[in-house]
């Protein structure tokens, strides 16, 4: 199989590695040590492999590694470096939004990407935003609670700015 060099940043760090032409971004990332990107179905159905690729949440199992060339990827490991990411992580922990944790990385990245664009979503909007990420353990309630709490905090912050 044909191989190409792929250069990209992952969590703000430069990565340069060889990818096979047909290799998914998911496999490429996992092969290069980013095991926090989870593999649940490899068909774009479960959302566990979600990463943020050039400011857009994507399911990395249905994106080719080569498509990420010269682009910027964020995984859940990078969230600690970003304010919204860190807030979401903390909120997930405090609200008990994590059970087995297998959907958590994808869930947080989807939420982060969505809230970058819509910082104060209501519960219904949150549910719609994460509907491509399956969770089998929680029944989604505490996940929505956790994200909503960050939205409320954003609302309060915004209030302070305008008052």
């Amino acid at each position: 199989m044909e191989e190409h060099r792929v250069e990209l940043t992952v969590n703000d760090e430069k990565i340069s590695a060889v990818a096979k032409a047909e290799e998914s971004l998911l496999k490429f990332l996992r092969r290069n040590g980013f095991s926090e990107v989870k593999c649940g179905c490899e068909k774009g159905e479960c959302g566990t492999c979600t990463v943020i690729l050039n400011k857009k949440a994507v399911k990395s199992c249905i994106v080719l590694a080569l498509q990420a060339n010269h682009k910027e990827v964020w995984t859940v490991k990078g969230m600690e470096k970003l304010e919204l990411g860190r807030k979401l992580q903390e909120s997930f922990v405090n609200y008990g939004a994590i059970q087995c944790g297998f959907c958590t990385p994808g869930m947080i990245l989807t939420a982060k990407d969505y809230m970058d664009k819509n910082p104060i979503p209501d519960r219904k909007e949150i549910k719609k935003a994460i509907s491509g990420n399956l969770c089998r353990c929680t029944g989604y309630k505490k996940i929505v609670d956790a994200i909503y709490d960050v939205a409320v905090e954003n609302y309060k912050l915004e209030g302070e700015i305008y008052v």
């Binding site: 095991s35 926090e36 990107v37 989870k38 593999c39 649940g40 179905c41 490899e42 068909k43 159905e45 479960c46 566990t48 995984t75 859940v76 490991k77 969230m79 600690e80 992580q89 997930f92 922990v93 405090n94 609200y95 008990g96 994590i98 059970q99 087995c100 944790g101 297998f102 959907c103 958590t104 990385p105 947080i108 519960r123 949150i126 549910k127 719609k128 994460i130 509907s131 491509g132 990420n133 399956l134 969770c135 089998r136 353990c137 929680t138 029944g139 989604y140 309630k141 505490k142 996940i143 929505v144």
Partner: protein, 767 residues
Amino acid sequence: MSEFKIVGKPIPRHDAWSKVTGDLKYADDFSLPGMLFAKVLRSQYPAAKIIFINTGKAEQLDGVRAVLTAKDVPHNETVTKFGQSTEVGKGFEGLYRVLAEKKVRFMGEAVALVAAETEEIAEKALDLIEVKYEPLPGIFDPLEAIKPGAYLVGENNTNIIGEFGCHQGDIEKGFAQADIIVENTYKVPFVDHAYLEPEAGISWIDDYGILTIRVSTQVIEHFRDVADVLGLPHNKVRYIGTMMGGGFGGKEDITVETYLALLTWKTKKPVRLVYTREESILCHSKRHPFVMKYKVGAEKDGKLVALDAELISDAGAYPYLSLWVTLYATVNAAGPYCIPNVKVRAHCVLTNNTFTSANRGFGAPQPNFAYESIMDELSHKLNIDPLEIRRRNCLTTGKALATTGQVFKTYVALPEVAEKAWKALGESTECKKDEDRKIGRGLAIGLMSYGRMTFLHDSSRCYVRLESDGSVLIRSGIPDLGGGQISLLCQIVAEELGVPMSQVKIYHSDTALTPLAGTTTATRQTYMSGNATLKAAREIRNRILNKAAEILNVNQDKLDIINEGVLVNYDPSQYVPLVEVIKACNADGIELFYEAQFNAPFTITPDLSNIKGITFPDFTFGAQAVEIAVDTETGQVEILKLTTCYDAGKAINPLSVEGQMEGGSIYGMGYALTEEVIMEKGITMTPSFAEYIIPTAVDVPDVKAILVESGGGLGPYGAKGIGEPSCSIIAPAILNAIYDAIGVRIKSLPATPEKIIRALKKDYFKK
């Protein structure tokens, strides 16, 4: 001890941060240098003779290190166990066949194994293995399979692998007394666990020749079964259990481990095996479909007088835990009701469908759907409110289970939970008169055991050690499938030893290094390992208090350990830091470590044709209620409100208990409305999440979890188990609400839009 400091508080779990940062290494996140990749060749036929297998071409492929078939397995046939160390007999331990030999029994059965240098080579090698099959007719309907002369799935002369019964009172007299009799047949489908982490593991041989397997499993005790397959002494196989990405019973049987063990033993190299999603759905166990014929008699005032139930469960192609599940269903068949005359018969039947085994609820959700549908029908026919009819019949403290006669000595939270769940629905949602959307409400109650069957003589062990700096170490073989089983032990120890959670470190799920705590199944860990841990922690606590009493010169019973210090509870100024007490203990040679064992009550194996007396340590009681809207044009059901109320005894971590109740409700909601592994003549038609539909965030209501804490459980601090009971009641609540909304009763799960539309039309035609 006075007030709780850590137990009962909604605190973050010990593993939450490692999950949220992506640091936690699941089974598939671990690799070793020089590791090989395994793949499994699976049967494309549900029933066929194997004429020959030729592995020559595959073996010659560059990069292939091993190709194994049944003839290479030292003991290809053993018996299925699930961690029990007692011999139970009576057919419970069914055939476990590692690789198909002579005959395949289900589509997806493992026929050959490959280990190669890359995944791609392993896949290619699978294509090069030649298997000549001669297809056989097979049998796929358990009602057909049960008949004499039916196609035989296995090697025995019948497809029936188990029969169970319960008899109380005089069933004929009971029905003669009845003013009304309801008779129906209910059907429930195959269900997949749909955990998001597919089965995965890695194996290697360590420096001393020990076969080591790091695997996502609910049962690390399978190390014994793997050793038996390889013909090794049990102490030469070691399991290291990983934190699971969900289990729900699907990782209770052996999955990848035997294959890994065989390939590593053959190649002497590390081997990794991860199932694809499709492989996972095709090849791991399913929840049992049941056909349930029920006949229930009641008097005019709604008082139940007789119940006759005949249950047939589809075991699929191999027994696995089918007998256990069917026994659970038998015991659960009459639900949480007082009924003087009861007759239950259950048969467990082999077919050429994918094998069935443990799935969250383990035989409780199936009969619950049947008897709660009947209770609803009775309530409508007798014009008694659904809550009231349950009030008049439900078990209460001191009463006996209608099937086995087991007396409830602990608090029975009925009708309390039913009243709370029903009331919490609140005001009715308005709907316009002519709208296509019809609103309805439904209620269901139920019970399920926590802890294993008492004749399994269950036990759990835990080791606790207090370090010289006041930090604490726990060792427990407990596996964690995501429910917070492990964190719970940390909380108990932190509470008892007066230290913060951050001071407690647990080492878990290792058959070589941690005391065996038994399986994470049967909703048993809070009860069993919780008690073992409490016992160990209390022993050390006592030794600390004893020494502190000497130091402070007060009676031991006046002391408490709080915030890493021992103090006199009526005068907190009399205080000695914990580390000082530890120093004093160490100086005197007082051991600050302890390994405790907790034993559940033991009974003998009952007469299976008429099960009587104690079969389970205790039960958890719950109720669920829903308000739904049915679109009569599309058949679509929307859940508007969902309330769930359980007596958890004592919620050691309320966040985790609520998490179980919320998640359990939605797990059961899928069962009610969308989930079915469709098998057509043994061929799975739903091998992906595009076809096997589990609820997404937009499908679910915000579940309202109402916690009752009676303190009446057998677990630590009066806790009961909640994991499985939490999912076992919601399906009939939803289907009863559908009846309330549109007047049609769906008697087979799931209640898909197609079924609803069809049922509606049938009713229109009648008019």
